[in-house]
């Protein structure tokens, strides 16, 4: 479900933004302004916020970008899903993805083992790229996300909260577990007809990880947490 948000043309003349950083008088003025008005992050359109039914989403009246949602799920359920995903991530990295057999020789590799192999075969750049996009970025993103959600859940203030949230958003496009999963499937199909392939524990862990991450993304976007971070002027 999506609803357009709009604002009257004359509205901006009396909208409450008298003071410089931040808008409105103190924390309360800031809250009331931000509960009523939103600027589209893709086209800079100023528009009035409207209330959404549970599960609803608001899109920009000009460029149709997704602006905000009214989530049914609570952040606690996202936290649970992310914790489960973290366990799967550890399993996926600790065990071989699959092993293959040919002429009595058996070969198995973990993801990190594959990264190391590339490094030793004079492909340090590709090795670093794979390491960053499939291990480092997802690991840091996942653990930071869990940390931020726990801090908010237990209502602990933390100076580093804005930095942690920005770290998540910077890493988000570079963590490519789902693309890697497709790469695993393509490799499986390529090798299928010439060798004997035995799926490893990590393959199942990756499948579970994909489902858990998709579920977590469906319940919460890190950007929505900004509203819960206090303002320091």
């Amino acid at each position: 479900m999506s609803t357009n948000v709009s604002i009257d043309a004359k509205d901006h003349d009396r909208s409450p933004h008298p003071s410089p950083l931040p808008l409105g008088e103190g924390e309360q003025g800031f809250r009331s302004f931000h509960n009523s008005v939103i600027v589209c992050h893709e086209c800079d359109q100023l528009q009035r916020k409207i209330a959404l039914p549970p599960g609803g989403a608001a899109t920009c009246c000009r460029c149709s970008a997704l602006l905000y949602r009214n989530r049914r799920a609570t952040p606690a359920s996202s936290l649970a899903l992310l914790l489960a995903a973290a366990i799967m991530f550890v399993l996926a990295n600790a065990f071989p993805i699959f092993s293959l057999e040919m002429h009595g020789i058996r070969n198995a590799t973990t993801l990190f083992g594959a990264v190391q192999a590339l490094w030793h075969k004079d492909m340090p750049l590709i090795s670093a790229l794979v390491l960053f996009t499939t291990i480092l970025a997802p690991a840091v993103e996942l653990s930071t996300f869990i940390g931020v959600l726990s801090l908010l859940h237990f209502r602990r203030g933390c100076q580093a909260l804005p930095w942690l949230l920005r770290l998540i958003l910077v890493l988000e496009p570079w963590s490519m577990i789902e693309v890697f999963m497709l790469g695993v499937l393509v490799s499986l199909v390529k090798l299928w007809h010439m060798m004997n392939i035995v799926p490893g524990i990590a393959l199942w862990a990756y499948a579970a990880l994909m489902v858990l991450l998709a579920a977590a993304t469906a319940t919460l976007d890190a950007r929505e947490l900004w509203d819960r971070i206090p303002l320091r002027a």
Binding site: P20, D44, A65, I105, V130, V179, L231
Partner: protein, 212 residues
């Protein structure tokens, strides 16, 4: 039916939006380097030097796209032969081997997606530089599509990584990555960075200026 756009953009009435956290701010004109009071990110009206930086990244990606396609991306050594595959020849041999869904998938992720990204970003940059007001909604959707599909080009890099680690069966068969893979990886990273530095707000600025 169409009517002029009477609704202002935030920039048109002097409001800044933090690009990191979305906070709406009023920045005094004398303030040079404003910081967002919520997330401490630098506050800009538009992404700084968006067009210049995107052009630089895009041109670098376009140049590297040539060796990425011409050089060997994967070498397969078997008992009595060595097969050198470029991206395209890899797709062709998949097709000839009968796994045509896979061939289509790899063709799409490794050739179609990077080309679409290079062409579309060039088109978006040119249209923004000319101050075009032509079909802004379609151009905004094109940009959103680019951001979404860019990462899937990494597919081939992962396949090569896995194959070269697993297929090490002494003299029977072994696979290793070729120099083309470095160029290809660079193309994927550079086009992703180019899409990130492009500011989609610029598409709409031409319309605001036309009526303001």
């Amino acid at each position: 039916m169409s009517r002029p756009h009477a609704i202002p953009s935030a920039a048109a009435i002097g409001l800044h939006t933090c690009h990191a956290c979305g906070l709406v701010l009023r920045v005094p004109p004398q303030l040079r380097q404003a910081r967002c009071p919520r997330c401490h990110a630098g506050v800009h009206l538009r992404k700084p030097d968006s067009i210049t930086r995107t052009w630089a990244l895009l041109i670098a990606a376009a140049i590297l796209f040539i060796p990425a396609n011409l050089l060997t991306i994967m070498e397969t050594h078997s008992l009595n032969s060595t097969q050198r595959d470029t991206i395209l020849s890899g797709v062709v041999s998949l097709w000839n081997g009968g796994s045509w869904p896979l061939a289509m998938l790899v063709f799409f992720a490794s050739i179609v997606v990077p080309m679409v990204k290079l062409i579309s970003l060039t088109f978006l940059l040119l249209s923004v530089q000319r101050g075009s007001t032509w079909r802004p909604l379609e151009r905004a959707r094109l940009y959103r599509l680019l951001e979404f599909i860019g990462r899937w080009s990494m597919l081939d890099i992962y396949v090569i990584t896995l194959l070269s680690a697993l297929v090490q069966l002494q003299s029977f068969a072994s696979v290793s990555a070729g120099p083309g893979s470095i160029a290809f990886g660079a193309v994927v990273v550079l086009t992703m960075l180019a899409a990130m530095t492009f500011d989609p707000r610029l598409i709409w600025d031409a319309l605001d200026q036309g009526h303001g």
